[in-house]
């Protein structure tokens, strides 16, 4: 019994600060929020209500309409990212990684610039550029003879959400580009040379050799996009305000949570309904992460060199 090791105090000391801050500020509030969703307030006193808040959220037409609208918009926001951002990112990365390309570092740096800007800047910059008052966008379309195509895209119910999604794509395309670029660089030259020996070059090299090898990176990008999109708020708030106009056409879960929690105009804020929405978002994100971890990641074939 005497040879039992002493308690490893140094390990505890190394772990303690990070675990303490992380647990106190992140994990406990997360579960406290989930718990808060089970209460309601009567005369400013919290009263246990079970799943009553969720029944209101999904059952009461005043709430459920807004919730499904926000969820639907959020899903479309995500679809646009998957269909536009990630293919463009892959294409740019493939171009950047082509051997002997000059100025690659310059392109990489420049295309990543929008990603470092804040949503406030991006939202307002595009709002100004697309504004019919200033006329940068209409006069540019005029220059290529497409003036008739111009419309106040951010002001119309049908186009506002897609426009905002495309602005967000413009901002974040640098992230898939960089990650795919890194994945492409990590493919050993021998593999590509062996393919070349077999006469596989150019397009078919990309489709048959490189794309299968970067599928895991594309999977990671997809789940990062999913989490980021279902947690988005800033861009919509900065460019359309908390009301996510026109007529809630750009309302997503983040802005819906903000309005419910803090109130807007005449409606008072409701922390319990806010917590219920946050809980719904938690389960949506959790579901997405689980689908990725168990259904997608395990099926992706990884190659070791």
């Amino acid at each position: 019994m005497t040879d039992r090791k002493p308690f490893p105090w140094h390990v505890a000391v190394f772990l303690a600060p990070a675990v303490a801050v992380y647990t106190a500020i992140m994990i406990i509030p997360l579960f406290a929020t989930l718990n808060l969703a089970l209460f309601t307030s009567i005369d400013r006193q919290p009263v246990f209500a079970g799943l009553e808040n969720f029944r209101t959220l999904f059952g009461d037409p005043r709430w459920s309409e807004a919730f499904w609208n926000a969820l639907g918009n959020n899903a479309w926001f995500f679809v646009v990212h998957m269909l536009v951002q990630n293919p463009i990112g892959v294409a740019l990365a493939a171009l950047l990684s082509s051997p002997g390309l000059r100025l690659a570092a310059f392109y990489r740096t420049a295309i990543f610039v929008p990603t470092i800007l804040s949503f406030v800047i991006v939202g307002f910059a595009w709002k100004l550029i697309l504004s019919p008052i200033w006329g940068v966008a209409p006069s540019m379309l005029d220059a290529v003879g497409l003036r008739s195509l111009f419309a106040p895209w951010l002001g119309q119910e049908e186009t506002a959400l897609t426009t905002l999604a495309l602005i967000s794509v413009w901002q974040f395309v640098g992230i898939p580009m960089m990650l795919i670029y890194a994945a492409l660089l990590s493919i050993p030259d021998e593999v590509l040379e062996a393919a070349e020996m077999d006469g596989i070059t150019g397009w078919s090299r990309f489709w048959k050799i490189q794309l299968p090898l970067i599928l895991p990176a594309i999977g990671i990008i997809s789940i990062l996009t999913f989490v980021g999109n279902f947690n988005a708020f800033d861009l919509i708030y900065a460019s359309q305000g908390a009301l996510a106009g026109p007529n809630y056409a750009t309302d997503i879960l983040g802005t819906f949570l903000y309005r419910t929690f803090f109130g807007f105009q005449l409606q008072l804020g409701d922390p319990h309904m806010g917590a219920a929405i946050a809980t719904a978002m938690f389960f949506i994100i959790l579901a997405g992460v689980c689908v990725y971890l168990f259904a997608i990641q395990t099926r992706l074939r990884r190659y070791q060199f």
């Binding site: 808060l36 307002f124 550029i129």
Partner: protein, 279 residues
């Protein structure tokens, strides 16, 4: 001969596409910054022209410095970002060292627990975080923001840093132990200097979302004295919507510091992304 020409053609096409996309990426920034230096009339008459001696004007910047307290906002953003960065790097590196160096029961579980925060955004706990800050009297203080951003930055920092710390040679650390160095000295004197490049990468990744965040400043510290640049710009622009000079100048002032920092650190950032993915 024709193969060489085809290769040349392909590379020209690649450059054409990349140049086109670079223009798309930089164009909005260019339009904002250029027009912030022009008179109101010139902003509307020739939005795409560079400022000439006749159209040059700093009236927007004068309004911004007179009306908004941007110097204070910058100071707040700087304090919050630097303090959070310091704690994320220090605590993150310590925890990463514990996870990568020592074998103890629950090591893997602890690693998973700390990595959870990468997938589940901290914003979902906002309702309870606000209650916590109200209860502890930290609302409208920069401390509240520093605490939240430290918690937010830790998961990714720990994952990246422990990945790098596994590559530090065991022989070196054991040589230190034989010489009688304590575990703390080994960490601070031997390991930390060796993972400095990884620390720089984590710093850049942690810094950008903190500097740009709108959600937590809006909710936890919206008071005039604690506004960050991002929130300050948002509020200022909201009040001065019709004063285009002021709006464009405020946007430029918010863009330029980040842009300069990015250009200084971009190589580090890109090397970090590339190194992190190559296993």
């Amino acid at each position: 001969m024709s193969a060489a020409r085809a290769l040349l053609g392909r590379s020209a096409a690649a450059h054409a596409i990349l140049i086109a996309y670079t223009l798309i990426a930089l164009f909005p920034v260019f339009v904002i910054v250029v027009n912030s230096f022009k008179t109101r009339r010139a902003i509307f008459a020739e939005p795409l022209a560079l400022p000439t001696p006749e159209t040059f004007s700093l009236v927007g910047y004068q309004t911004v410095t007179r009306q908004g307290d941007f110097l204070l906002y910058f100071q707040n953003s700087l304090i919050v970002t630097v303090a959070s960065l310091f704690f994320v790097l220090l605590f993150g590196a310590m925890a990463a060292f514990a996870l990568s160096e020592y074998r103890f029961r629950g090591n893997r579980l602890m690693g998973l627990y700390l990595a959870l925060g990468i997938m589940i955004p901290i914003r979902l706990g906002t309702v309870a975080i606000l209650q916590l800050m109200v209860a502890s009297g930290l609302v409208n203080t920069l401390t509240a923001l520093v605490l939240v951003y430290t918690a937010q930055g830790l998961p990714l920092a720990i994952v990246i840093l422990s990945e790098f710390m596994r590559t530090v040679s065991d022989d070196l650390k054991n040589a230190g132990r034989i010489d009688g160095l304590s575990e703390y000295t080994i960490f601070f004197r031997l390991v930390l200097p060796l993972v400095r490049p990884a620390m720089a990468t984590v710093a850049v990744f942690t810094m950008i979302p903190i500097w740009n965040d709108l959600w937590f400043p809006l909710i936890l510290a919206p008071a005039e004295a604690t506004k960050t640049v991002t929130l300050g710009a948002q509020v200022f622009i909201g009040q001065f919507v019709t004063d285009w000079n002021a709006v464009l100048s405020a946007l430029s002032l918010a863009i330029l510091p980040v842009l300069v920092l990015y250009l200084i650190f971009s190589r580090q950032l890109i090397r970090g992304i590339t190194a992190g993915a190559v296993k």
